[in-house]
Structures are given as C-alpha cells and as structure tokens.
C-alpha cells in the first residue's frame, strides 16, 4: 500500500545526509568525547562542530548551546533551571506539555512554597497578546516561557515583542522553538530570548537529541548531576551520533532557507489547505495569524477526528488530531480549546503537517482521499444526518 506521511509535527524522517553523517559515530568513531586520547578527540571535535552548526541555525555562539536528550529535557531545564521557590513564572495556555506540565509541577511541588504561575490566554486566532504578558509581570517574576510556533496550529507568537518586554522588566525569557526551527529563520538576538529550545527529530534529525540555547551569563541550575559535561549545565556522556545528526540537520535547514524551501513548502501547504477548505462545513484553525509554512489545522464539522485519522491511516495517509495520551487514545486538544473553539469542533479538527520529503504527489494523494473519506464519515454520523435534515 502506498503510504503518505503528513504528520511531520509529530516527527520527521531522518534525511539520508543526516544518517550518513551519523553512521561513523556508531562504528569507527566510538570514543567518549571526554577522553583525552585520539578516540575522544575525534568525537569531541564532532560534537563541537555540531554545536557550531546549531549555533549558526539560531544566530548564537557555540558556547551558548547545551545539548540535551530532546525538546522536553531542554524545556524542563529552562523552567527548573531558573525558577526557584517563591518565584513567579509566566507562560501561556497553549504551550506544549513539556512546558505546561513542568510549570504545573513548579506550582505544586518545587521548593517549600512552590512557584506561582500565570497562564496567559490566547485569542481566537491562537495568539498571545504581548500586552497581557506585560500586565502579568510582578516584582518576583523570574521567567517568561512562551512558545515560538504552536505544534497543533503552527501559529507563530509575537516573541520579539515579548522579548522586548522581558528585557525591559529584567525577566528571563525562554521560548520553545521546537516547531519553528527549520521552518522559519530563527535569530535569538532578534527574538531577544535568553533561552530557546529545539529538537533534533522535528528538523529531520534523529530522535533522542535536542538543544537548549542559554544566553551567556544566564545562571542555570542543572537538573542532572554528574560530570562537567556541557559546561556543567547537563551532566552525562554526550550522545555523539545524535548530536552529530542534529548538527547535520541544522546545516541542512540553513541551506534549505538559502534555497527557498520554506516558500515552496508554504505554497504546497496553501494548495492543500485551499482544496480541503472547499469541502462543505470546514474551517481553518488559526486563521488570520502568522503561521509556520508546513502546518494546517482544519475542522470538519460533525466528524469524529479520531475516526477520520484511523480511516485515513487505513487508506495510507498519516495525519493527526489533538494529542495522544498514554494509551494512544486521543484527548481533546488543550490548544484548540484555549482558542475558544467549540468542543465538537475541537474534536473534529485534523492537523496536516508537511516535511522536506513530501512531494506534490503526496499532496494530490491526500486531496484524492480526504474529501471522499469525510463524506463517508458524515453519511454514517448521526450528528451530520440530524443537521442535514434541519438545513
């Protein structure tokens, strides 16, 4: 069966060049990057080259890049590395769970008195209002953590404005850029952030590696204790193949921007989106907001999104809805709910997310499949039939 993958916000396939770059570090270059001998020197050099590549992608210094086990660890390191008992933290209602649940934990258990957390709401387009962030700042505010691009809708937040507000108030600003990296150009100085998270497997690198940008001079308490790896900000022997893969993926992302891949991807996404919105009783989530070029999130009224995802998967198209819980069942999206979407529409929403490997034929495949499948689901939907009668 032909299979088309349009769920690149969940993970992306490792590009062949990335796999090639990683391969020697599973074999002949096996050294521990902390060792003083030849083997260690070889892998140390590879790790530092990768750090430079990541720094180039983010517009920062190599020394400001801390490698982690992924986006979640980097987000947690930013939150737990800065917030202390009695501090106030500002975040948004649409963050990824890696930030949201870290903040919840902060409010509940950390320290003797815990931290206070303010959750900034979003408007119907899914945007945080920087003025809300400014108003939420208190004398004891330590950290603002607001994402760059949302994983479900692709909506890009006004992070540069928030960065300015944070700087004026002398508050640390972290942004989760996992879904923005490789899709839109990132410059930590233009954003004005002190910390920024990226993940390897969302940019066609391997799973199990990520990085946190930490602005020079930021006093970050580590979460893991052990050796003095990563300038004592993250103990543990480096995941050399993973780091090399992330570095290569960062290089490829930079050359992609130079070629204009992002504009091409936006055109493909727009084509898909336009055609899907031709289907009766549909709508775009995040309409009117700036978005990354690869994501579109659409509701199909009277549809059970879960059933649509399964029906499409059985026909070879991989897309997603909401966030999967531990059993694999789908839970109502906290992002769409926070945007004020009706619960039935939140459950009827599907995310299509493109990757570098997708071809125009992939889009055609989706467009041949989705309208027909939506039609079949609606024919069997008691809610749709009821609404059709009343029309």
């Amino acid at each position: 069966m032909r299979r088309v993958y349009l769920d690149n916000n969940a993970t992306t396939p490792v590009l062949p060049e990335v796999l090639e770059a990683m391969r020697p570090y599973f074999g002949e270059h096996f050294g521990n990057a902390s060792s003083i001998h030849h083997h260690g020197q070889e892998t140390r050099a590879a790790v530092e080259r990768a750090r430079e590549s990541v720094a180039a992608l983010l517009g920062c210094r190599a020394s400001e890049v801390v490698f982690t086990s992924g986006g979640t660890e980097a987000d947690n390191l930013a939150v737990f590395g800065l917030a202390r008992s009695g501090d106030h933290v500002i975040t948004s209602t649409i963050e990824h769970h890696a930030v949201l649940n870290a903040c919840k934990h902060l409010a509940k258990y950390r320290g003797t008195t815990g931290c206070e957390v303010t959750y900034i709401p979003v408007d119907g387009r899914g945007l945080v209002d920087p003025a809300d962030v400014k108003r939420a700042i208190r004398p004891n505010t330590k950290l603002i953590t607001i994402m760059l691009a949302n994983n479900e809708t692709g909506v890009v937040q006004p992070v540069a404005e928030i960065g300015k507000i944070a700087a004026e108030a002398d508050v640390y600003f972290h942004t989760d850029a996992v879904q923005a990296a490789g899709k839109i150009p990132i410059d930590v100085n233009k954003i004005g952030c002190d910390l920024l998270t990226i993940s390897g497997h969302k940019i066609h690198g391997p799973q199990g590696v990520g990085a946190l940008y930490v602005r020079k001079g930021t006093l970050l308490e580590p979460m893991l204790y052990g050796g003095s790896h990563e300038r004592s900000r993250r103990a543990g022997t480096e995941n050399v193949p993973g780091i090399v893969g992330l570095g290569k993926a960062a290089e490829l992302a930079i050359s992609g921007f130079e070629r204009g891949d992002d504009r091409k991807m936006a055109a493909a996404r727009d084509h898909l989106e336009r055609e899907l919105l031709e289907i009766e009783a549909t709508g775009l989530n995040g309409e009117g907001a700036p978005r990354v070029p690869n994501t579109t999130n659409i509701y199909f009224d009277s549809i059970d999104g879960e059933a649509l995802v399964i029906a499409l998967d059985l026909k070879g198209l991989a897309v997603s809805t909401g966030a999967a819980c531990s059993s694999g069942a789908i839970e109502p999206s906290h992002v769409l709910t926070a945007m004020g979407l009706r619960p039935d529409r939140a459950k009827a929403s599907i995310r299509f997310s493109l990757g570098k490997q997708n071809t125009p034929e992939d889009i055609d495949f989706a467009l041949a499949l989705v309208p027909e499948t939506v039609g079949r689901l609606r024919e069997l939907s008691p809610v749709w039939l009821k609404s059709a009668v009343s029309h």
């Binding site: 059970d304 399964i310 059993s327």
Partner: protein
C-alpha cells in the same frame, strides 16, 4: 480488544479465517482520575483501560499482523454508564453498568466508528450467539454453548440493526478451548486471568467509588441518611444512605436482632430501608420497563418463558404479558428471591433470548 483472552482469541480466529480485521480498544475511563480521592487508593489498581491492558492488546494485534487503534469514548462512557450507575445507587437501585455499556458504547458508538473506518461488522469476545432466522426474518440472540460463560443477560438490549452487524465468534466455544486457541496463536495473554469486577470500580468497592466520584463532581447529596424500618413499619435504626444497600443484603445493616435480617425493599422517596426475614424476600411478580424484544417485534399475547433476574440466577419459569408501551408484567410459577430494581429481567425461550427489560421498583 480489551487485552484479555476472549477478545484476543476472537481477533486470532477471524484473522485465521482470512478476514480483514482491525483491532480497536475503547478508552473508557481514566483510572487516575479518582486516585487518592476520598479513600481511593493513590496507586491505580483497577483493570479498566489500564496501560497494561492496552499494551497487551497492542502486542496481540502486532502478533496477528492486524492494524490496531485505541479510540477514546471517555465522555460518552461517563454520560451513559458512570453517571447512571451512580444515580441508580443513589435512588436505591442496583445497576448493571455492563448492559448500559453494551447498549450505548460497544454496540452503538463503537459500531458507528467501526463502520466509519470501513468495517462492515464488529466482533467481540462475548459468550453468546447471533443467528438469522429465515422464517421469522429476524436476528436471534442465543445463549452460548458454554452455559457457565453465557453473557446474553447483558446483551438483551441489542436491536435488530445492531445484531445484524455483530459477530460473537466465541459463542460455540468453551473457555478452555478459547485459552487453547490463544496458546496456539502464541498470544502473550493466553494465561491472563479473567476479569470479574466492574471495570471502572477498583477492587470492586462501589461505595468508595460513589463517594469519590460525587466528591469530585461536587454534587454529593447533603441529606442521605434515613431510617431502617421493619416490614410492619417499626423504626429500628438509622442508615447512612440508600446507596449502601441492595435487596437481599444481610451483612452491614448495623442493627442487631435475634434472627437474621435482610433488606427487603428500598424506598427512595422516604429514604427508608425496609428489613425483614428471608421468607419476606420472595415475590411472584415484577414489572419490567424499557423492554427490548429480540425474537419477536412485540408481545401480542401472554407468553411462557424462563426469566433470569440477575447474572448468576437460574432462569425461572414464568408468564410474560404486555403491561403498556415497553412494559411487561412477569408472573413466576414459583416466588423468586430478591427481585432487585435496577437489575435486568431477561426472557428466554430455551436458548433463545426473547427480550428483556429493567426491573422496576415495586413502590413506584
């Protein structure tokens, strides 16, 4: 697929027949929701929708090489099964959540999902049989060959449309045969013990579950205490809520008398629990409401059947006759012990399920 032996064996059988099989597990209840509430254990103990069971089902699907998905029906389950379960107890009745789940979830919403994703039928691990009768032009529900496992009591609410799209592949098998089949297919769950309890009530302690759920919902009734009275109206004590009792209950009544006392009746309007001697528990008639007929479309004249009034009850000979729309009056040949409102009365003609309904409170 629950991750248990029965539904796993069904998947294996249908796959072996060369059918196109899709595995589905229903996520119905979040066990962690009430953990730590009102004396509920901190750690999650219940079997329902546990990660382990989903893992088992997924492993079975993988072994069989079939696509597999978990579908979330928590909202509907709470609305159509958990809430009515709680409300029935608060109204002094003894509910059967499994029947509600079959009627509203498995053979309704799950069937819709199954058809939407391209399936024609759903198959479950229930011990029951479905056959089409040409003469009657109806789908019949019949007891399973393994009488000790028969689950038709919980399936009396199925409609003709539902039965026409249902497969019960285990209906002709015994439990040991099912286990053997699971072993033959090298399914990891072949030796997994059977589950007995209500899936969403950890440890079977429904009272603790009610307390925790009502507290979580913030609608714990304030006045639930009532009187304990004898059949001749004498007040002999107090009780802490009608939900603590079921008809025929002897233990935990909180009153001490010379001879053993049993709960005879629960009066919801006055919150009185009526107790009496064992012989006072017997009655010959009952009314069944919201009746569903399977082997016939309606009851034109009185019919001789055998009626089962609880899952482990031996069906007793009786006459059923219509008592209004969707209502049936049941008259047993011999008085039956502990007719319990909230339980089902299921009518059998031999192995064939004629239909069934919900036992009504005799005071209402």
């Amino acid at each position: 697929m629950s991750g248990g032996v029965d539904s796993s064996a069904v998947a294996a059988m249908l796959r072996a027949e060369g059918r196109n099989v899709i595995g589905l597990t229903m996520q119905l209840w979040n066990q962690r929701r009430l953990a730590g509430h009102e004396g509920m254990p901190e750690s999650v103990q219940g079997r329902c929708c546990s990660i382990d069971d989903v893992y088992d089902a997924r492993r079975v699907a993988e072994t069989l090489g079939i696509p597999y998905y978990v579908v979330n029906h928590e909202e509907r389950f709470e609305r159509d099964v958990v809430r009515p379960f709680v409300e029935e107890y608060l109204a002094g009745r003894t509910p059967i959540p499994c029947s509600l789940c079959n009627n509203h979830l498995k053979f309704d919403q799950l069937l819709v999902v199954a058809r939407q994703i391209g399936a024609d039928q759903i198959a479950t691990g229930h011990y029951a049989q479905v056959v089409f009768d040409e003469q009657l032009n109806r789908w019949l529900l019949k007891r399973s060959v393994d009488k000790s496992k028969d689950q038709t009591y919980f399936l009396f609410g199925l409609t003709q449309a539902q039965l026409s799209r249902t497969l019960f592949p285990l209906g002709g098998m015994t439990k040991p045969e099912v286990r053997e089949l699971a072993r033959k297919h090298s399914l990891v769950i072949a030796e997994k013990p059977d589950s007995q309890e209500i899936c969403f009530v950890p440890g079977g302690d429904y009272k603790r579950f009610l307390e925790a759920y009502l507290t979580e919902q913030g609608d714990k009734p304030t006045e639930i205490a009532g009187e304990m009275v004898t059949t001749d109206g004498k007040v002999i004590g107090e009780h802490a809520g009608v939900h603590n009792f079921t008809i025929g209950q002897r233990k935990g009544l909180g009153v001490a008398t010379g001879s053993p006392l049993y709960v005879i009746q629960i009066k919801n309007d006055t919150r009185q629990v009526v107790v009496g001697k064992d012989e006072e528990l017997y009655s010959r008639t009952l009314r069944a409401r919201r009746v569903n007929f399977i082997s016939t479309s309606e009851l034109r004249e009185p019919m001789r059947v055998a009626v089962k009034i609880r899952h482990k009850h031996q069906p007793a000979p009786a006459i059923i006759e219509s008592a209004g729309p969707d209502e049936v009056r049941v008259t047993f040949d011999e008085p039956q012990r502990a007719l319990t409102p909230g339980q089902a009365a299921v009518f059998y003609d031999g192995d064939i399920v004629v239909g069934g309904g919900w036992i009504e409170n005799s005071t209402q």
